[in-house]
């Protein structure tokens, strides 16, 4: 049995994106850290942080709540302070990497730099992974959207010109080539024009 388990850092994750923070919680738990709480709604943030008393807070870099946390830290030495303060003692590469991934951390005095680094590395990796997933999802979504519009435009032409699917498609391709536009742009134009006529 390990003795470090009982001294495990109390991690608080503040992230309005619940899917991302769930992913991060799982990753941290796998590494043996205790995520004591996840906040996505930060109303009453000060009271919550005072009650939870985390050793480390992982928060989205761009979160407006960082200004709130930093003010708390000036009033109360038990409140975690910005991790950049510890850049001298720790590994500034880690902090750079985290910031580029959109993560920032607040830690209490006396936390070991190794532990800070390890938690931040996990957080940065998850944030990056999540961003990649989101980009991929957006690509798939817009591809689907494009296809839906092509279909709709084609059907509108078929109805309007009373022609076959092949003819409608050929007409659209010709328009795209003649006007130097993409098929998606042409589809959008057709939809807006023909819908107005109908």
């Amino acid at each position: 049995m390990t003795t470090t388990q009982s001294q495990s850092e109390r991690v608080l994750v503040i992230d309005k994106d619940t899917a991302r923070s769930a992913l991060l919680e799982q990753a941290l738990t796998d590494q043996g850290y205790a995520v004591v709480s996840r906040l996505h709604d930060t109303e009453g943030l000060i009271a919550q942080v005072e009650q939870i008393r985390p050793d480390i807070i992982i928060i989205e870099l761009d979160s407006p709540d960082r200004d709130v946390l930093e003010h708390m830290a000036t009033l109360n030495s038990h409140i975690p302070r910005p991790v950049v303060m510890f850049a001298e003692s720790g590994d500034s590469q880690t902090i750079q990497k985290a910031i580029k991934a959109g993560v920032s951390a607040y830690v209490v005095d006396g936390m070991s730099p190794d532990r800070i680094q390890s938690i931040m590395d996990v957080a940065a990796a998850r944030f990056r992974e999540f961003q990649a997933l989101r980009n991929e999802l957006n690509d798939v979504r817009s591809e689907l959207e494009d296809r839906k519009q092509l279909e709709q435009a084609k059907r509108l032409i078929m109805k309007h010109q009373n022609c076959t699917e092949d003819k409608a498609y050929t007409a659209m391709r010709k328009m795209a080539m003649d006007q130097g536009k993409t098929m998606t742009q042409i589809a959008k134009n057709i939809i807006s024009v023909l819908e107005m006529l109908n």
């Binding site: 109303e43 979160s63 709540d65 930093e70 910005p82 950049v84 920032s104």
Partner: protein, 395 residues
């Protein structure tokens, strides 16, 4: 429209720049410099990066992810001292305008003050003081007021206003930080009783019918400074010509912004999605110069070292500084009017030739003694008749 002279400047060391801003009205000089081509006129290719918090702006500038940024005037001073951040010296050679703030109290709190027979026309915090004493005597909870950031003009204006009525901001009330777009909503939920923030966040409370401005920042201190454009000192040393080009473009943009005929166009540009659109979408009619906000007039963009000293003295009053901090040396190090003057000379623009000016002595426009060309200044009174006379030692 009055265009300023476009000078011939040295070739910038770095052309592709990223500058940070927060979606507030006074990001205008940065946005206008980009959109009206003032940056490209001086050979710079600038990307603007919308940030979510002052902490994020500070971190990204410190780590070199941003070349420079809009900042609250207290941030370069605090960063140079290592207050709440690593100690990384910053400099500013450009002030982003004057005024634009106000103090708003909730209608619930104002009703309590009214019950005490307080004159509603009185802009002092005397009524609030009375209420604080009464609440204390009755064993009721402290009043909570919010500001936008620890080291901000809002914080020091609020503290100045409270202190003038004999209220101790650190003990008699709770002072907290709330991001500006959340101010009015937080007050509506009863979590805060009032706040000091920039416009339009005071008008928002009024429109929501939950609070009213009791005094504007302009009334507390006529033509008070608020934000700056700052870079790392090391960045400035490595890119002096780039910095000069940036200052030149920002001066052009500020001059353009203060011309009344441009204000509609300025708002159209600012309200685009990339800038203030999402932040201000709830406002029926945003106004650029609300709260007497000025960008260029009255030497508004000049980085007065006496302004730095005023902020530093306020920081000292609220025990944010160590006892041995040399305020004068710090004002000289962080505020760089010499850099502004060098650019203004090349632009043949009238500008101050002095670094320090007293405050609280002018109740109307006046002409600055100590200027190259004619520089008209605005009034500089404090609401309580206070004065500020910085020692004019050379730097």
């Amino acid at each position: 429209m009055t265009l300023l002279h476009s000078p011939i400047l040295a070739t910038p060391e770095k052309i592709d720049l990223t500058l940070g801003f927060l979606p507030l009205m006074d990001c205008a000089p940065l946005v206008i410099a980009k959109e009206k081509g003032f940056f490209s006129d001086v050979g710079l290719n600038v990307q603007l990066s919308r940030e979510g918090s002052w902490a994020s702006i500070r971190d990204k500038v410190m780590l070199g992810l941003l070349d420079g940024a809009q900042m609250l005037a207290g941030i370069p001073l605090a960063s140079t001292l290592g207050l709440g951040s690593p100690q990384v010296p910053m400099v500013t050679a450009f002030s982003i305008g004057l005024n634009g703030n106000a103090i708003t109290l909730s209608h619930a709190l104002l009703a309590e003050i009214d019950e005490l027979g307080h004159d509603p026309e009185d802009t002092s915090a005397n009524g609030l003081k009375q209420l604080i004493q009464l609440r204390k005597a009755n064993g009721r909870a402290k009043i909570t007021l919010a500001m936008v950031y620890t080291y901000s003009a809002h914080s020091y204006l609020l503290r100045y206003w409270l202190s003038a009525a004999g209220i101790d901001p650190d003990n008699d009330i709770n002072l907290t930080v709330v991001p500006p777009p959340q101010m009015a909503v937080t007050m509506k939920k009863g979590l805060i009783d009032g706040y000091c923030a920039g416009e339009p966040w005071n008008s928002v409370a009024q429109e929501m019918g939950i609070g009213s401005p009791v005094i504007s920042g302009y009334q507390i201190w006529n033509n008070c400074p608020d934000k700056v454009f700052a870079v790392l000192e090391s960045w400035h040393n490595a890119h002096p010509a780039t910095h000069e080009a940036l200052i030149c473009a920002l001066i052009q943009a500020s001059n353009w912004l203060d011309q009344p005929q441009n204000s509609d166009e300025a708002l159209d540009i600012l309200l685009a999605n990339a800038y203030l659109g999402p932040a201000l979408s709830m406002l029926p009619q945003p106004v650029l110069n609300q709260g007497n906000r000025l960008f260029f007039r009255y030497a508004a963009s000049y980085p007065w070292r006496s302004h730095a000293l005023w902020f530093l003295e306020q920081m000292q009053h609220c025990n944010q500084l160590q006892d041995n901090t040399d305020l004068h040396q710090l004002a000289c190090q962080v505020y760089r009017p010499d850099l502004y003057r060098a650019v203004a000379s090349k632009m043949q623009l009238p500008h101050p030739t002095i670094d320090f000016k007293p405050e609280g002595f002018h109740d109307r426009e006046w002409v600055l003694q100590g200027a190259a060309g004619a520089v008209t200044m605005g009034s500089d009174l404090f609401f309580n008749g206070g004065t500020f006379e910085p020692r004019r030692q050379p730097c």
